[in-house]
């Protein structure tokens, strides 16, 4: 029996190998790795006496009939090969910060059309202008980037950049300690001491531009009473929360925006400092409001770790204990993330813990979304607050904007829609052998980091979803795209200021409704195509115009586009 079995097995294996070797001609199978298309072999060009004249540049444009559709863009026009003009429906002082974002990276217009704007297809062979080209994407395992020899900026310091990922912070740290990685994203707070004690490693803390706040809905009693909200604000010992539950470098929040936001953060005036922690005064104010014995309330939150709230359960318990001191009896309601976000946004939670991390470095990203967008997360909006926020968002002059934001901060303190508690910090860790490292809230300078081997291995917490980011929101995905693509502008390494990238200069009109960008010359995409103004128009048209054939993306939601620029052109009803 055994012999028969062995013979049968052998026959099967042999037959399989023969069939596999012979069956060569059918349809294509999918390859396991995504690599760049090999370049076509060079062919000898026939000798010509004179070069044909370069075809004249034909600029393209896309425009809305009117601004009634509700979005920010009126038109985008390629004035000439190196000039592109954006006309806006209303002034936007944050426009430069927005166009520098990685989700608005410029694609080769022809390639975009060839791929039908499909993020999946664009990710198979990404084609950008950035410092690195994709050499290989082994799904689930790693992405290998190779230095782009035609990069318009300084040549990348390392020839190879490898992105790997591991969901576990402890596993990422093991990689760094063992020397198989040169840098890791977001080590666990508990491991900061270990990293700092290891001479082979280095911790790089950085601010991320965030706020953790305690929200209150002014439509739900007793929070419909201003004095109740103010009393609760006085009863929270923010310093204690930050000291006990946040990593070193985190700060007590005095205002809704972080101190680095200028204009936005008030350095003086009534709105510059939040209520002082004073439980006795809080109790008195509560009695004045008609609640001498306090009241019962439910505190809702989701058990999700964020930089702005790294120890959510402990913070919830601490707030419960602090409010008990003034007689407010808190019942904790830990909710699942999706339902919690929906109910908080709908103003259904009287008291809740939430936060915000910046998308782009401008105060509008904080104030407008939360207090002046017909949102109901704090109940009904306050008209005076809305007016000031909208006024600040229409101005180009920083000093004038700051004057409005000073008033905004004063009004927030007066109305107390929420209690700003903390600005959290985070950190990445690198091998001590990696030089010239700059970590910031919006990017990392991988292209400038130096290693002895000429190869840098970075381990982040998740695999990028796509390598084309117009329709992506995930930070791990955007980080990978930043290596491949460039936007019109970029962000300075380690900071938040927009700096030249594919555009070398820009000029707004007087009321900041027209922005004219001068584009960098001599830039080529990874596939050799020349970059010009039509690529900018094609990229933005695909994002903006829902009827554009290239408006496909991944999910088709293009969340950042509508988040930054309000509405699609030709949006489906």
């Amino acid at each position: 029996m055994k012999r028969k079995l062995f013979a049968l097995l052998s026959l099967f294996v042999l037959a399989s190998m023969v069939l596999a070797a012979c069956g060569g001609a059918a349809t294509a199978t999918e390859a396991p790795v995504v690599t760049e298309e090999p370049a076509a072999p060079p062919t000898e060009a026939p000798v010509v006496a004179t070069e044909p004249p370069a075809p004249a540049f034909e600029g393209t444009s896309v425009s809305a009939e009117s601004c009634d559709y509700g979005g920010e863009f009126k038109s985008i026009e390629a004035v000439d090969a190196t000039t592109v003009k954006f006309t806006l429906c209303y002034p936007d002082p944050a426009f430069l910060s927005k166009v520098a974002f990685a989700a608005f990276a410029i694609q080769d217009g022809d390639y975009l059309t060839e791929m039908g704007g499909d993020s999946g297809k664009l990710s198979e062979a990404p084609n950008g202008t950035g410092p690195y080209k994709v050499a290989e994407w082994v799904r689930g395992d790693h992405i290998t980037f190779e230095a782009n020899p035609d990069f318009w900026g300084d040549a990348p310091a390392n020839q190879t950049l490898i992105f790997r990922w591991s969901a576990e912070a402890s596993a990422r740290l093991l990689e760094l300690q063992s020397g198989t990685a040169d840098g890791i994203f977001l080590p666990s707070e508990d491991d900061y001491e270990t990293i700092e004690a290891d001479s082979n490693l280095k911790l790089y803390p950085y601010e991320t531009g965030n706020i953790f706040y305690i929200g209150m809905a002014n439509t739900i009693p007793p929070f419909d009473n201003d004095k109740v909200r103010q009393a609760v604000a006085m009863a929270i010992n923010k310093q204690q929360i930050v000291d006990n539950f946040y990593p070193a470098g985190s700060a007590v929040a005095e205002q809704f925006v972080p101190p680095s936001f200028s204009p936005g953060y008030s350095s003086s005036g009534d709105g510059a400092k939040w209520y002082t922690y004073d439980p006795a005064a809080a109790k008195a104010l509560l009695a004045e409001a008609g609640f001498p014995d306090g009241f019962d309330v439910t505190l809702a939150y989701r058990d999700v770790v964020r930089v702005y709230l790294p120890n959510v359960n402990q913070v919830a318990q601490e707030i419960q204990a602090q409010l008990a001191e003034i007689g407010v009896r808190v019942t904790i309601n830990k909710m699942e993330s999706g339902p919690f976000l929906e109910s908080a946004a709908a103003g259904e939670q009287p008291l809740y813990l939430l936060g915000w991390g910046m998308d782009y470095p401008d105060a509008t990203n904080f104030y407008d979304f939360h207090f002046a967008s017909n949102a109901t997360r704090f109940g009904n909006e306050w008209p005076d607050l809305v007016e000031e926020i909208k006024a600040a968002a229409q101005l180009g002059d920083p000093a004038e904007r700051q004057a409005h934001y000073d008033e905004v901060n004063r009004l927030i303190k007066e109305h107390v829609p929420m209690i700003p508690v903390a600005h959290g910090t985070t950190a990445n860790a690198m091998s001590a052998g990696v030089g010239n490292v700059v970590m910031g809230p919006l990017n990392e300078n991988f292209e400038q980091m130096t290693t002895a081997s000429g190869q840098l291995v970075w381990v982040q917490s998740a695999e990028p979803i796509m390598l084309s980011c117009g329709d992506e929101t995930d930070g791990e995905t955007l980080r990978a795209c930043e290596q491949i693509y460039d936007s019109l502008l970029g962000y300075e390494f380690g900071g938040v200021a927009p700096v030249p990238a594919l555009a070398t200069a820009w000029q707004p009109n007087t009321d900041a409704t027209e922005w004219t960008f001068t584009l960098r010359e001599g830039v080529t995409f990874h596939n050799g195509a020349t970059f010009d103004a039509n690529d900018v128009v094609a990229t933005y048209a695909a994002l903006w115009d829902a009827s554009n054939p290239n408006h496909k993306g991944n999910t088709g939601v293009f969340e950042y586009f509508t988040g930054f620029f309000a509405q699609f052109l030709n949006a489906p009803k």
């Binding site: 001609a25 199978t29 396991p32 979803i465």
Partner: protein, 358 residues
Amino acid sequence: MTQFLLRRLVLLLPVLFGITFITFALARILPGDPCYAILGEKATVEQCDAFREREGLNDPILIQFGRYLNDIAHGNFGESLKDGRQVTQIILERLPMTIEVTIGAMFFSTTFGILLGVISAVRRNTAIDVGTMFGANIGVSMPVFWLGLMLAYLFAIVLKDTPFWIPPSGRLSSGITIPPLAETLDLQNLSGLWGTLVTLASYSVTFNALITGNFEVLRDALWHLILPCVAVGTIPLSIIARMTRSSLLEVFGLDYIRTARAKGLRERVVILKHAMRNALLPIVTVVGLSVGGLMSGAVLTETVFALPGVGTQLVSAILSRDYAVVQAFTVIIALIFVFVNLIVDISYVFLDPRVRMQ
């Protein structure tokens, strides 16, 4: 035999239907909204409504299930909600890694489990026996996740800069790569079953390296497999060792073993030829059942060792409520489990002639 196999295969259908339905229902009953998981927490209510409508998530669950069954019947596991890729392709990419770990762990646990079990049984009530069984008890009590981290810490950090250093994670060392098997063997144009098999083999780095004679990659791949296989194989090893010991001790007390010894046969022949064959039946059952444990252990192990297998994909899909991927992978794991048990049943016939297919 044929009748038995056919009957078992037919019986698989209701089992698979049940698994599919339970997985499908559980994925939807569990709390969590794919919209926020996929689009991010800043998605608006309107964006989420549009997303659910487009993905058919607003339809009644039975209609969704019917549509899903229809797709499966046509060999289509659907598309990932997260990145729109075909789930079948994702399975082909991820399954080989898990199979490699499972086979490696099975090899480790079976070889050493049986060996330790035999030694324990032969040296019954000696220090070796007590020590081995004590070790087995510890092994069976250790969480895979913790053991994985400890092994990685020991071999990657403590033994760093020694010849015993083993990489803590990843499939291959950075910079080492292997072209797809189909490309190397010029089989890119294969389609159908053969194309699928070649694609599957391509993603098995170890098999690919072995077939193509790329020994540098093979060595690196095996080197990276050591810790995951040991981590995931430790619990089954302990169970197999204990089962082998008790099974052998039971057989040692039977008359035919006494007869064999009375005939003057060498002890090695008595143990390996006469005792082991009878003792194997419960051991094989345990080995078969432990495949399920190895597959579920792989979910944790792959996360610790950052391996691109079913486990990491499944965890990621569960966290992002990627229904199509969760369902497909669960069905595939169940299928493997069921087939392994079928093979175990069939193996009884060859191990013990008294067992007949009924």
